[in-house]
């Protein structure tokens, strides 16, 4: 027993770089040798899926990109899955960006899904309105008069010349909003300045770290479901029956979590052993 206690205490003094190395190995191994662990959709993901599935054909759906390369691994897989679901159900997709680097992400996602996979027509099936600085002021602008905020799209085409912009003048003209958010401005601003005042339903996909902040809106019904980080993306991919990057990362995620929990448990045992010995002497 004494030997085991000494070993745990010794582990507590391990150079932190060994821990980094162990995490790197346990994350990398399942990427090379997938385990195929099962993915079960949570209630929050299912609610988001149902909200989009129940939209009638040709609904006008606003998708807002509020993330950049730094959070791409978490949010991009879910936007790809959401776009696939929307285009498969023949919805009209309007994309705007509250983050400047969100425009890059939106272009990449639309190229992959709308152009390459579904062969859709720009301006008739989907449009990229692009980025406007101003944070919540942009959201307010979209709510009151989108044509004042966006006179041209991301390609420089006048809004009046884009066929699918006919009859779209303000936020209330949309049937649904999906906010792919990594922080401020993002989901919270859409709830406060757009969805709540107008009653247009919305759903969201956020980074894991943001989930606790957004969850009260989901619980109260102000937001229809939430895709929580990479696992949320994997669950959505499972629901639409098209595995993607989210699914491929889930084995690594699960194994890494087990190892981290193990480290936390060992760290706590070490803390209690040290405290017990300090009391003894």
């Amino acid at each position: 027993m004494r030997y085991l206690e000494d070993l745990i205490l010794k582990l507590g003094k391990l150079d932190r770089r060994w821990i980094f190395l162990i995490i790197a190995v346990v994350v990398a191994l399942p990427l090379f040798f997938p385990l195929g662990l099962p993915i079960r959709p949570t209630n929050a993901t299912q609610v988001a899926y149902n909200a989009i599935e129940e939209l009638p054909e040709n609904s006008k759906v606003l998708v807002s990109f509020e993330y950049g390369p730094s959070t791409k691994p978490e949010i991009h897989p879910m936007t790809i899955a959401i776009l696939r679901h929307l285009f498969r159900n023949h919805q009209k997709v309007y994309v705007i960006c509250l983050w400047p680097d969100g425009q890059f992400m939106a272009e990449e996602a639309l190229n992959q899904v709308a152009e390459n996979e579904f062969k859709l027509k720009y301006g008739e099936d989907y449009v990229l309105l692009g980025f406007r600085p101003g944070n919540e002021a942009v959201v307010k602008g979209v709510v009151s008069n989108i044509r004042k905020m966006y006179t041209v799209d991301a390609r420089g085409t006048l809004i009046d010349e884009i066929p699918m912009m006919d009859g779209v003048n303000k936020f209330a003209d949309f049937n649904f909003l999906f906010s792919a958010s990594a922080g401020y401005p993002g989901t919270v601003e859409w709830v406060q300045y757009a969805s709540d005042p107008t009653g247009v339903p919305m759903s969201t996909g956020t980074t894991s770290i943001q989930v606790n902040e957004v969850m009260p809106y989901v619980q109260s019904g102000q937001v229809k479901g939430i895709l929580a980080g990479m696992p949320g993306a994997a669950e959505y991919e499972a629901l639409i029956g098209q595995p993607g990057i989210g699914t491929s990362g889930m084995d690594a995620q699960s194994i890494a979590h087990i190892v981290i929990v193990l480290f936390i448990v060992l760290g706590n045992i070490g803390f209690f052993i040290e405290r017990k010995r300090a009391k003894k002497y």
Binding site: P73, T151, V211, G229, G249, Q253, H257
Partner: protein, 283 residues
């Protein structure tokens, strides 16, 4: 695969591994990546802000494209005369004949234009006081804008959302979905959490006990936040690893592997030299 894509892969692999190298210790590779990131981000943001807002929405409203007849005569010819001078210096920003971004003329936009210039004057020690006007406008506007949003969504919406629904056919107990039991937990958690932050009376007796219950709810919330934070960081690591694995393939000429070998060799050599160097003497 095109040469540009392969080069992009090498750059991405180098920058990713350079940032990861900080986990070993601070080193020149990390410094290079850090400085490139700061520089590129600042440049990209400035460019995006200018070309998506200032040029089309500010200058486009001050000097919109008009018919030649509309630009002539009196003040208009002076106004577009200024534009033509600016156009001679910066033709890409001020193209001949006015900016065609779908706007009409709105001279009221001179006010935000001047406020913006005032904010830029903060770089001058003598004129920096001008910046306060721009900042005052921004603070006032943001405070007014946020007050309504918070009141409507975070106060009224949340009170509505946390109310217990005894009617409406909710089951008494359901672990994953909506239920009366779960609603009661939310109500108890909300009230006890609020009482913990009520400092006008000493936390003794019932108030102390309810406040203590609030701490437990807060602890559970912090635990969930920590768990989500770990999950998020691991997701980001997975994302980088997926890209690094891609860049290690033959299509990219094994970029990840070569860069990693060179980096590890150089960092190892540097550590070896550091060990051999005599300790610094103090006199």
């Amino acid at each position: 695969m095109s040469g540009t894509e392969i080069f992009g892969g090498w750059v991405a692999a180098f920058l990713t591994l350079a940032i990861f190298s900080y986990l070993y210790k601070d080193n020149p590779f990390y410094k290079i990546a850090e400085h490139i990131f700061v520089g590129v981000s600042a440049g990209y943001w400035t460019s995006m802000f200018f070309w998506t807002q200032i040029q089309p929405n500010l200058f486009g409203r001050l000097w919109p494209k008009l018919e030649a007849s509309e630009m002539s005569g009196g003040l208009m010819s002076v106004w577009y005369g200024i534009y033509n001078v600016l156009g001679a210096v910066l033709p890409a920003v001020f193209p001949a004949g006015g900016i065609d971004k779908g706007h009409g003329m709105h001279l009221i936009y001179i006010i935000p234009f001047l406020l913006g210039i005032m904010m830029l004057l903060s770089i001058s020690s003598k004129l920096s006081w001008f910046a306060r006007w721009g900042i005052a406008y921004t603070v006032g506007m943001a405070a007014g804008l946020r007050a309504y949003g918070f009141l409507n969504s975070n106060v009224i919406g949340q009170i509505k959302g946390s109310a217990v629904q005894f009617v409406g056919g909710l089951p008494f107990f359901n672990l994953l979905g909506d239920s009366i039991f779960n609603s009661l937990i939310i109500v108890v958690g909300t009230i006890s959490g609020l009482i913990y932050f009520y400092f006008s009376k000493e936390h003794t007796g019932i108030l102390g006990k309810v406040g203590r219950l609030g701490i437990y709810f807060l602890m559970i919330s912090f635990g969930a936040s920590f768990g989500f934070a770990v999950m998020g960081r691991i997701s980001l690591l997975i994302g980088r690893f997926i890209d690094l694995i891609d860049y290690s393939k033959a299509g990219y000429h094994h970029a990840t592997i070569w860069i990693m070998i060179v980096m590890v060799a150089l960092l190892g050599y540097s550590a070896f030299k550091e060990k051999q160097a005599p300790p610094p003497t103090t006199e």
